[in-house]
Symmetry: C2
Subunit: 310 residues, 2 copies
């Protein structure tokens, strides 16, 4: 078995995903637990983490541990303060925030990022900075744009190896709460039987997002198209998803009017869905796996911080 | 006491508001009850209605009764089917839907309206058609646009006395569920102490809505501006309201690019708030009281239907 050199954990609001990695970044072992920071009782993050890691820590007592995600927020283990832009790999490595696992061993939390947009509105990121660093080709020059879709969807600009700007959209969270709590959800029906019709509904949502009237008007159309049975009720959630993702892209195109290609960092299902949407709006896409980007980022940051040999 | 000639009731999802009117439209008596259609147990609408009206029905057994709002929906007393556009006063009067209060007496439900927009998307209205008829100057010619803000905000075109088009935006419901169920609500604090700062936050939301990046991006800014304390937490709900109302108006301006003036039909508080927002976006506004528009509409419809003498 290859010798592990790093424990990499993405610890978010709802779950923890950890990898035991060798020096080439190959996965030696992996863990996934529905033990997000909101489910850690009494704030016992060190005990919870030790228990989840099991024998990884016993077998390799000196192994460095890197964490990223909401674990570094006010609701997490400790606050790893957001650092300003532009941010390079070295800046993240220099701002690692140590938290004690035992009285002999620390874990290191990667800081988030903060910026102020052209209109004076603040924006913040936490967790995605690690994935971006992991996905970057370190030798690349020039400017590129990445999309990290999800609950809070991020569009990120990278220029000459530094994260130089980003914008967050509330896309995934809006989809979830409109489906669960609004009148739009009442007509939605689940169906695993007719994928083709549902995919059609997603594209109809993208088309709708490109029309006039604004997002709030298009949202009511989910109700009326379902009520009048123009969109099948099993397709209403994907119709709504198409409208929201379409409006996210349309809004971001106001900020990036010249954009022609974009890299998507995400799990396969959501990456493919965003890929279809971004291509609908005329962008060329490249997909990068989100989990691999996260542990790849941890490996680079750990090396830059001198926690593992280069 | 003037002789009452009509019972007018706006019966919605959350409440019932009723007026006893004389032949000039003056209010003889009024009732308001938190007895929306969702709170009528066992579907006993006739019993609930009789109880709420009390002696109105006993004192004037022959008085006509007009109802509008969600009482005419699938969840209400009986379905008064939506009628298509263009719709005039006479069309509403001809499509009244009778429901029995007792075995000797009926109430009449005003139908809703249905239309299909230029992009093939359906839209529906129920309750506002009565207010529009009530607010209209019957001798007016030409085209005018009315805004009926609320949970489901309506922009309505009237041409030569007929309702000829409308668009619904999910503004009020989105504000409520984002405040109650999303991460945006977590930082919101109530405060009755600093109205000026809160009004500033509303205008900051309107300004934000006029900038680039799209609504979903601006929504995340409610989180980040609150988190970074750029907007005071007591002002966050009004900042969000400004963003949503601003985006409703911006979206509707795509449909009505030439619009210069608009009539707002609503209760005083929401009418003044929309008035400020519409004026911010360059529109001249006229305010009409929503309750008076509703019973005024019922009076006109009852006359047109021959239920009371002209």
């Amino acid at each position: 078995m290859p010798k592990p050199v790093l424990i990499s954990a993405d610890w978010g609001t709802t779950s923890l995903r950890a990898f035991l990695l060798d020096r080439r970044g190959a996965i030696v072992d992996r863990r996934k637990a529905p033990k997000g920071i909101m489910k850690v009782s009494d704030g016992d993050f060190s005990g919870t983490f030790s228990a989840l890691m099991g024998r990884w820590l016993n077998d390799s007592p000196d192994i460095p541990v890197l964490l990223s995600g909401m674990i570094g927020s006010e609701q997490g283990w400790a606050v790893a303060p957001h650092i300003p832009l532009p941010a390079r790999l070295a800046d993240l490595a220099a701002a690692l925030h140590a938290v004690p696992i035992t009285d002999k061993k620390c874990a290191y939390i990667v800081p988030g990022l903060t910026t102020v947009g052209v209109h004076g509105v603040h924006d913040i990121i936490r967790g995605e900075e690690t994935q971006i660093v992991g996905a970057l080709d370190d030798s690349a020059t020039g400017e590129s744009v990445l999309c990290l879709p999800g609950t809070h969807s991020k569009w990120v600009t990278v220029a000459d190896g530094a994260i130089s700007g980003f914008q967050t959209s509330l896309t995934g969270e809006t989809l979830a709460i409109l489906s669960d709590n609004s009148i739009l959800g009442r007509l939605m029906e689940n169906s695993a039987t007719d994928n083709e019709k549902e995919e059609t509904a997603f594209v109809q949502g993208l088309i709708r997002a490109s029309e006039q009237g604004g997002l709030l008007h298009h949202l009511f159309g989910v109700r009326s198209q379902g009520y009048c049975r123009v969109i099948p009720r099993s397709g209403l959630r994907l119709y709504l998803a198409g409208i929201l993702i379409g409006h996210e892209i349309r809004g971001m195109r106001e900020i990036y009017p010249q954009l022609k290609s974009i890299t998507i960092i995400a799990g396969q299902e959501i990456a493919e869905r965003y890929g279809r949407a971004l291509e609908f709006f005329g962008l060329q896409t490249t997909l990068v796996d989100g989990a691999a980007a996260a542990f790849g980022g941890h490996l680079k940051i750990a090396r830059a911080a001198g926690l593992i040999r280069k």
